[in-house]
């Protein structure tokens, strides 16, 4: 049984550069395996999903991008905020996107205003779309078994998810209030989990800790912590400790190199590389300790030797399954 089997909306955030898009894609593949239908969404106009799955830029439609292990489909959607607004007007107010009213709204700059100038409104539209796909039904059952959102980075994710609450605060009653209440009910409910991707480095770990506090404060459900790009120590613990202190046995190393038929003069340079590695491993240990304090389910993904390609994504997906995230 996976750790988050009752969750339908998986929000994936992380500091920039931690690989949250990659992890979100791997999670979508993992959740889809065994014949399920999963939607992977992005909301930041980066077309990161298309790049990962090596396909042309995604249109604003839900498009199948991958088949999971053991069957199961991953659909992808890059939400375009202008289209989301037109959708919204169409859905709730029967305004045709090509009709005169919509054209006029565009002409007077109202569309621009809504999508770029009023950044809060932008997030309202994006989160509204996330909620719509999460609760969408077909034939009395959920249209998607799970939705994975490649969300804004940790610094902004709580604000992003909470935007409807903020807007709800502006409107005491009325349609906006109802809409924002229903969005918040989904985001704060048991069907949602916000997972945080981190590296074992000082800043990303700190941001993860801050994000957990921030999300908790806003009543948003914190899911798991996914530690990405973890290195395996290449030295035995005693050597690691010696290397960290700069006390590696250089003569033994020179001798070992000579015996292996290599130039013993390389020893000091190699020892310096070992010292850097040891410092890095020590830093990772401290990061890991700090994350343990959060008492959240934690998953680790290794540093892949090459840039992540489609094959790498399947590997990562399998590891997430093995560790119980999906």
């Amino acid at each position: 049984m996976a750790d988050f089997s009752s969750v339908r909306l998986h929000v994936v955030s992380g500091k920039g550069g931690t690989g949250k898009t990659t992890v979100a894609a791997a999670l979508a593949l993992a959740l889809a395996s065994g014949g399920r239908k999963v939607l992977l969404m992005e909301v930041e106009d980066r077309q990161g999903i298309a790049q990962l799955f090596d396909c042309p830029p995604l249109p604003y439609t839900e498009k199948k991008v991958a088949v999971a292990l053991g069957g199961g489909d991953v659909y992808a959607l890059a939400v375009d905020v202008e289209q989301a607004l037109l959708d919204y007007l169409h859905m709730f107010y029967k305004l045709s996107p090509t009709g005169i009213p919509a054209r006029t709204l565009r002409k007077i700059g109202a569309i621009d205003f809504a999508t770029t100038i009023a950044p809060g409104l932008r997030d309202v539209l994006l989160t509204g779309k996330v909620k719509e796909v999460t609760v969408r039904q077909q034939g009395g059952r959920p249209y998607y078994d799970a939705v994975v959102l490649d969300a804004p980075p940790t610094g902004r994710v709580a604000r992003f998810l909470n935007i409807s609450h903020e807007i709800g605060g502006l409107a005491k009653v009325g349609p906006l209030k109802n809409q924002s209440d229903s969005v918040m009910a989904v985001f704060k409910g048991a069907q949602t989990a916000v997972h945080l991707v981190t590296l074992l480095e000082e800043m990303p770990v700190q941001e993860t800790i801050d994000a957990v506090a921030d999300l908790t404060e806003h009543g948003l459900p914190v899911g798991g912590v996914i530690v990405n790009a973890v290195r395996t120590p290449a030295l035995v613990p005693a050597d690691l400790r010696a290397a960290e202190r700069g006390e590696l046995d250089l003569s033994a190393l020179s001798q070992g190199l000579a015996q292996a038929g290599l130039d013993p003069a390389c020893a000091p340079s190699l020892a310096a590389e070992a010292a850097e590695h040891a410092a890095r491993v020590a830093l990772e240990e401290r990061g890991r300790d700090a994350l343990t304090e959060l008492h959240r389910p934690t998953y680790e993904l290794p540093l892949l030797p090459d840039a992540v390609d489609l094959g790498g994504l399947y590997e990562l997906a399998q590891m997430l399954r093995d560790q119980g995230l999906a």
Binding site: T104, F113, P153, L170, G256, E273
Partner: protein, 367 residues
């Protein structure tokens, strides 16, 4: 790497503004801080404006709180001030400076203003550029180094002034304020159709009382629009000025370099002065003569637990990583051969003291 070398000492000795930009997590803040420390110690009166520094880096520069005031950094052999941006406070200050006291109080009380100024994404970009303009206007510093916000798109801040100008000149504002002012019958007709649809849609979406708050907000802000526009334009001009230098920061990874390439192209389109690219956190080896293959082959013949085998495996991994980084960086330089480049070696840990910043500064200046 084939790009021309980037001479950052020449940049910090002559520029009046340096803007560090790049995608999130590439080390923009550290780069900005290191350049500022180096500039100050080379005799320039410098201020560094940071957005969201790591705690220990902030402490190293004596920044303990977000108070929006540049404070002297202790322990520098020169003249360096540092500040962290407080976006809400910067916004409030603009309102207080540009609106009459009664109007200002109305604006500060308006729920839209409160939401806009403190919690919405995007405001940071406007405010960072606003603060830059303010610091520049004081004429107090020879050099201002700015770190850019970790935006959804690293380019947002570049668009901010123009977007604001376009919006303020746009018809929406006129429509919201005074549809009757529009001249010409045909236009009036289109506008009033649009306006009716717009207000009725907005009323249905957000409710009448909210709409009232919104138009009050826009009306209250109207008196400040001229000021807003002028400042946005002035900041945009400042960024285009020859005294400004953009330093794009990336790590030698696919995504970061893709963002950097996009940024370089955008800056060229806008006619913004690009100094060059910093490739941060590059892995090098002092024993590159010992190849990865030979290291691995030799390690296989040894006890895998032995020190020599471990060190050889590490060395091989490092060379493979270094090769991959070089290929990534070369892809960038072959697409952008005219962009000067400098590399900074990966540090095993995060930089969080002045000596660490000095070391990074020395590398930025070419070692």
């Amino acid at each position: 790497m084939r790009g021309a070398p980037l001479d950052l000492d020449q940049v910090i000795d002559t520029a009046q503004i340096i803007v560090c930009c790049g995608s999130g997590g590439v080390g923009k803040t550290t780069t900005a801080a290191a350049l500022a420390v180096r500039a100050a110690e080379r005799g320039r009166k410098t201020v560094v404006l940071t957005i969201d520094p790591a705690r220990r880096l902030a402490q190293a520069m004596g920044l303990s709180e977000l108070d929006n005031t540049p404070r002297p950094v202790k322990g520098i052999d020169g003249d360096l001030d540092a500040m962290m941006l407080d976006m809400k406070r910067t916004f409030d200050e603009i309102v207080l400076t540009h609106a009459e006291p009664v109007k200002a109080a109305q604006i500060l009380q308006n729920p839209f203003y409160q939401a806009l100024s403190s919690s919405f994404a995007g405001t940071q970009e406007y405010m960072a550029m606003e603060k830059l303009g303010q610091l520049k206007a004081t004429g107090e510093w020879d050099l201002i180094v700015v770190d850019t916000p970790p935006s959804r798109s690293a380019l947002d801040f570049l668009d901010a002034p123009e977007r604001l100008t376009t919006f303020l000149d746009g018809r929406l504002v006129k429509v919201l304020l005074a549809p009757a002012k529009a001249s010409g019958k045909a236009y009036l007709k289109v506008v009033s159709v649009g306006f009716n649809v717009f207000t009725s849609a907005i009323t249905r979406i957000i409710g009448a009382s909210v709409l009232q708050d919104l138009s009050q907000f826009v009306a209250a802000l109207e008196t400040m629009f001229g000021g807003f526009r002028e400042r946005a334009q002035a900041t945009y001009d400042l960024l285009k000025d020859r005294g400004t230098a953009f330093v794009v920061v990336a790590t030698p990874e696919r995504d970061a370099l893709r963002e950097a390439a996009y940024f370089v192209e955008r800056l060229a389109e806008e006619g913004m002065p690009l100094a060059g690219l910093v490739v941060n956190r590059v892995h090098r080896s002092a024993a590159a003569g010992l190849t990865a293959q030979r290291s691995l082959a030799a390690a296989e013949g040894l006890d895998p637990q032995s020190l020599t085998a471990g060190v050889l495996r590490l060395h091989a991994d490092r060379l493979l990583l270094s090769d991959r980084e070089r290929r990534m960086a070369e892809r960038f330089t072959s697409a952008h051969p005219g962009v000067p480049v400098v590399e900074v070696a990966a540090q095993p840990g995060d930089v969080h003291d002045l000596d660490g910043l000095r070391a990074v500064g020395a590398e930025l200046a070419g070692g």
